[in-house]
Symmetry: C2
Subunit: 233 residues, 2 copies
DNA sequence: CGAGCCCTTGATGCATTTCAACGAATGTGG
DNA sequence: CCACATTCGTTGAAATGCATCAAGGGCTCG
């Protein structure tokens, strides 16, 4: 379906993408017009791929609702999950001819899909947006560095604590409760550990009264400070 | 010292930075002029910092010779090494106000130092170079993803095998021999393992006749195909 | 030659994986 | 609505990989 700028989610996602700075209202309005005419919003079901590793890099995507997982698999069957993307994040920020990872919807998700061609065109006409895009790229870079840092850290349970803190930030909306969009296996492949270790990690953190597990996916951070401490010990 | 464009290493490094494409000779010549007037080549001794985590992000750096290590340390004393940079690589490609890692020379290194201000200026005047810069950023992003992928690999020895293959590509100059610029401890912190495990990994790979160790730093890849197989098993 | 540094190797204990069984939640067809 | 299958998560026990502790070897440089 064509992009409907009046939908609350779409606006939120785009605002989060563009950031709160610099862009004057005229530029913004024109840009929105461009988008609504030339790009669309697409709905994906759980498990459906936005694209696969090896596909031509022709679009960028901005999730409006739901959650997207970036992953790469080996011939030998193992898998690395690179990131979980939520509302207002962006994927496909790359000049590479071909995607070198796959993107898959974790649950029912709405996603804005913009062609790279349109994007290049927009960059030429709105330097402010091109600049913002560069900022985003460098922010992503710094996020991945953080992730790499965490991967090198001591214990599996600490890495899990990091993930939960991150998820609270991104999903908690100011509260200490959130709903995990991914499975234990997804978390395991994200943090480089086995499914069972992930599960034991949850149990351990619950036993220490740092978190509470309402059901498999509904998590509460009970002791944020202590959990942070646990993660960075 | 001011940048001497006639020096072979400098040319090589800049060419590798700029890539082999697109830029017409006029643009190139002007750009080189700009650089030689406004930037400099600096020599660093082993262990010396180019910058530290938290320093203002005011320069980008391009190694001409030697090797630079990017690292971040925790308060609790552990360390993550993010990358080893060699001739023609680039560091400081980020819009972040402050570096979020340190850069340290591993051995005697010459480095071209360019102010971010000059760089921005150059981008405005030479769009082709701005575009190239964006390509580089996205290439770096994809390198870090590869690194993240490797960190998720099963065993420590496999990760080491990956590193050695990477080093052969970058240092071997077409041969199967190369000189490692970093210590066992550096490798350990890069791959998220202990120094001892790294050492045992070397011994193991040698025992399997996949590599040969002339001395601690002089390595030969004996069986590239088998080593690749070992790394991805 | 000896000091210092880095690397290697061995022994031990702990963290994590693997294998296996079970439990909870969800969906399906009779 | 209830058996039943299926999927996903938890937990236990055994095996393995890795970190840690500790000792010793080799190289370099004064």
């Amino acid at each position: 379906m064509p992009l409907d700028l009046e939908k609350v989610g779409v606006k939120t996602a785009l605002r989060s993408f563009l950031g709160s700075n610099d862009l004057d209202t005229n530029t913004l309005a024109e840009f929105y017009q461009d988008l609504s005419r030339n790009s669309e919003e697409i709905r994906y079901s759980p498990g459906q791929h936005l694209f696969r590793e090896g596909d031509l890099n022709e679009y960028i995507y901005i999730p409006v609702s739901g959650a997207i997982m970036l992953e790469r698999s080996t011939s030998s069957g193992s898998r690395q999950v690179f990131a979980f993307l939520l509302t207002g994040n962006i994927l496909g920020v790359s000049d590479q001819l071909i995607y070198n990872f796959s993107a898959k919807a974790l649950n029912d998700s709405n996603v804005i899909k913009i062609s790279q061609k349109l994007m290049k065109n927009i960059f030429e006409r709105y330097p402010a947006i091109a600049k913002r895009y560069q900022q985003i790229t460098s922010h992503i870079l710094s996020m991945i560095l953080d992730q790499l840092f965490i991967m090198g850290q001591r214990t599996a349970h600490q890495r899990l604590a990091h993930l939960l803190l991150d998820m609270q930030n991104r999903l908690g909306h100011g509260t200490n409760k959130f709903h995990l969009p991914m499975s234990r296996q997804d978390i395991a492949d994200y943090l480089g550990m086995s499914l069972e270790t992930t599960s034991r990690g949850f149990s351990q953190l619950k036993k220490l009264d740092l978190i509470n597990i309402e059901n498999n996916y509904q998590i509460t951070i009970v002791e944020r400070v202590k959990l942070t401490d646990y993660a960075n010990r």
